[in-house]
């Protein structure tokens, strides 16, 4: 019977894990710090202002997008910067946008924000400048 109780506990944990996804998704909205549909967003990382712009607008999931990133001040990067795209509420796998520099402090790369079956549309773009830090941009995309 003790074994059976363990099994029921495990089953409830499973149901909890499944329902937890929708609970977690509810927290998405409160984390939004960027209105990417309206234009570029700015975040500060270790004294540097990092700007992210995604084109074309409106920013739609499942479409080819251009990610433009700028950083102010003197920066010496050990590696090229990149953007990791994911959902704050759920792991969508590794979706990395490599950035290349067109001119000083301006970087650009192309990528796609995928669509989640759940219908949740809040995404995080973690702009990583190696040696400086990560700027988190959390915004809604259009499906």
């Amino acid at each position: 019977m003790k074994n059976g109780a363990h099994q029921v506990t495990l089953l409830f944990l499973l149901i909890f894990a499944i329902s937890g996804e929708s609970i977690a998704a509810g927290k998405d909205q409160s984390q939004i710090n960027c209105s990417i549909q309206d234009g570029p967003c700015i975040q500060e990382v270790n004294g540097h202002k990092v700007t992210l712009e995604v084109l074309p607008r409106p920013v739609k999931a499942m479409h080819d997008l251009i990610f433009k990133v700028t950083i102010d001040g003197d920066v010496a990067l050990s590696k090229p910067p990149h953007i990791d795209l994911n959902m704050p509420a759920m792991d969508m796998g590794r979706n990395r946008v490599s950035l290349k520099s067109n001119e000083k402090n301006i970087y650009e790369g192309s990528g796609v924000i995928v669509r989640c079956k759940s219908g949740h549309r809040t995404w995080r773009a973690a702009v990583n400048f190696p040696g400086i830090g990560i700027a988190d941009f959390i915004f809604d995309v259009i499906y």
Partner: protein, 230 residues
């Protein structure tokens, strides 16, 4: 060669972590439904067949992405098929739920109905009633088409591999190999969920079937509504 191997290992690891972080939540109800259906049978072979079907579909999609080298273009073209697959999955789960609870004799009802929905009911009903484990392979093949964020992300990599390939043939092979390793990586999490439900003590309780059946009907309706709204 070593970079290819590293990429494949990365996809295997991604599949594994995404399996526990995502698939359990999104596809867990599906494998739970299968386990509940397999009341008095072993779950290993049917679940392996389901995963083989699912991974085969991933590989075909990976091959197409690798050949075309464009994710957005292919994704736009298969969106309708995926919507249909999600709708089908929903109907299948509802029927499985009804059958599991024993509330409705599906085949009896569907045979009296010659409307298109009746024909669909008949087909699905036959699939649900079938005791042959081989039916889990086509089910996996179809459900591999379900719209899924992490699968899309993996397919992005397959398209990128195709874009970087010198020859189309290499792009196809790379895309297929990446999706194969990704798919294999997702199996342990889903199999663990399936095994959790397949415990003798639980399976001997009729109440579990009633509750599980109702749960399946709810999940199936959620899939159908998601498909309509997708």
């Amino acid at each position: 060669m070593s970079s290819t191997r590293t990429l494949l290992l990365a996809y295997l690891a991604t599949g594994f972590t995404v399996g526990f972080g995502h698939c359990i939540g999104m596809c867990g109800p599906l494998v739970v439904s299968f386990s509940l259906r397999l009341k008095d049978h072993g779950i290993l072979i049917p679940h392996l067949l389901y995963h083989c079907g699912r991974i085969l579909t991933y590989m075909v999609l990976g091959g197409i992405m690798g050949a075309m080298g464009s994710f957005a273009m292919v994704a736009a073209n298969i969106a309708l098929i995926q919507k249909a697959a999600m709708f089908f999955a929903g109907v299948l789960i509802v029927f499985m739920g009804l059958s599991t609870t024993g509330w409705i004799s599906l085949v009896k009802i569907s045979l009296l109905d010659d409307t298109p929905s009746g024909v669909l009911s008949s087909r699905v009903g036959r699939l649900v009633k079938s005791q042959s484990v081989i039916t889990y392979l086509p089910v996996g093949l179809i459900l591999g088409l379900l719209p899924c964020g992490p699968v899309y992300t993996a397919l992005l990599g397959a398209a990128r591999a195709g874009m970087e390939a010198q020859v189309v043939y290499h792009g196809i092979l790379s895309g297929m190999a990446l999706m194969l390793t990704f798919g294999i990586g997702t199996v342990p999490a889903l199999f663990l969920v399936a095994k959790l439900v397949d415990m003798g003590w639980l399976k001997s309780r009729d109440i579990i079937y009633r509750v599980g059946g109702v749960l399946m009907i709810g999940v199936g309706i959620y899939f159908v509504i998601s498909a309509i709204r997708y």
